[in-house]
Symmetry: C2
Subunit: 238 residues, 2 copies
């Protein structure tokens, strides 16, 4: 039953506007962004069967790029693979909460390793990001939140890259992408405090500049912990 509903929900309407993929040229990227946004916006609800042909129509591409997109979406945890089929993951409070706990362990370790390997130019890059975040105005407006999301992503990625480990980058990318998306969508709107966040960023950078692994690890753990949602009520479907 619910599968049919999902099917028709995709096929009956034109979601190009909702998905904002009108100007994306490359089919692979179109398909990926389209599916990702459809999941995050709830157009494709938890448990929905992700049919290749229907998604190809939805995103205006063919099945080939859709299949590649589905692999990415599954790898990121937004969908799960079961036998030959794929279904939208559930983002219950419990699941999101656990991913944050994983991030705390993963990224704080990354900060530790980064403290021993980061270059001066990377530290300068971090300083630059801090300054950019300080310059954000109209706090609370969607545009400001979007801008912060982008800079915040760059901040965390710069530190992960500073570990000089390809494996660390691969694993972190997966652990970080889901919570960052979910946060942006459901949590930040209500609770993000840019100034407070940047204070914590500054502490982390100071620890990195002093090449102090213990401090860097602790500061990063505290930072992520402070962004972890702790009330089930602010979560969407769970």
């Amino acid at each position: 039953m619910s599968l049919n509903e999902t099917n028709s929900a995709i096929q009956d309407a034109d979601f190009a506007d909702d998905l904002n993929i009108g100007d994306i040229e490359r089919p692979a990227e179109r398909a990926y962004q389209g599916i990702r946004r459809a999941i995050l916006k709830g157009i494709l609800p938890s448990g929905a069967h992700l049919r290749e042909e229907a998604l190809a129509q939805m995103t205006g591409t063919s099945r080939t790029p859709v299949r590649e997109a589905l692999r990415r979406v599954v790898a990121e945890g937004l969908a799960r693979a079961d036998n030959r089929h794929r279904y939208v993951s559930d983002f219950s409070f419990k699941e999101v909460s656990i991913v944050f706990d994983i991030r705390i362990r993963l990224e704080s370790f990354a900060a530790r390793v980064a403290a021993e390997n980061i270059t001066d130019s990377e530290l300068a890059e971090l300083d630059h990001i801090l300054a950019e975040i300080d310059r954000i105005e109209n706090v609370g407006q969607p545009a400001a939140t979007e801008r912060f999301a982008e800079l915040n992503s760059r901040f965390h990625n710069t530190i992960i890259k500073a570990t000089r480990s390809m494996q660390m980058q691969t694993l972190s990318a997966q652990a970080v992408s889901l919570p960052l998306e979910v946060i942006k969508q459901f949590v930040w709107e209500q609770t993000v405090n840019i100034a407070q966040s940047n204070d914590q960023h500054r502490v982390i950078v100071t620890a990195l500049k002093q090449r102090n692994p213990d401090w860097a690890e602790n500061a990063m753990a505290g930072h992520i912990l402070s962004t972890k949602p702790h009330r089930p009520s602010i979560m969407p479907r769970g």
Copy 2:
């Protein structure tokens, strides 16, 4: 230069024997196993350009399943994606070492969560695996090592599944697959101690049975730590 060598290396010879994929029917699986084994056996050396057509010939399939296999191989960390191309990862001591440090944090957290969620039937399953490992004979022979690798995998996966978190399973699968392969290939042959390992397994199961998260976490961390290679000399290419 080295790219050409790689190319001809793939095309000139028939590696079907070396790769042991002769009896795998499904092309997707053939391609995946073939590429994976070629990387682990060193037929495809670190940094080698993974060309789709060449790999399709090597594995006796077409480019479509090869592309899917490449995604998996990249997701597992055996290869890295760069622009539109893919290259064999390097498994330097530093990289392998860092993945073990990540596993320590990830899996010990999994054991903590599992202690609070594991079912009686899963505990029985763990007991069964312990008994099977105890039954392994001819320790030191390849067949025994292979059998232990399989049971060890099941042991760790059972605990990860006991967390009841899909996200935990997805992330762990990626963090665990690489080191387990590398261990089997390069480390265990020389250092694995099945009896000692199973002693540690038993401690973990006891902690889980008592639903003691702290103990379970600590025991798992110690177990993985004990399997982490600590001498660069036993690693292959790094």
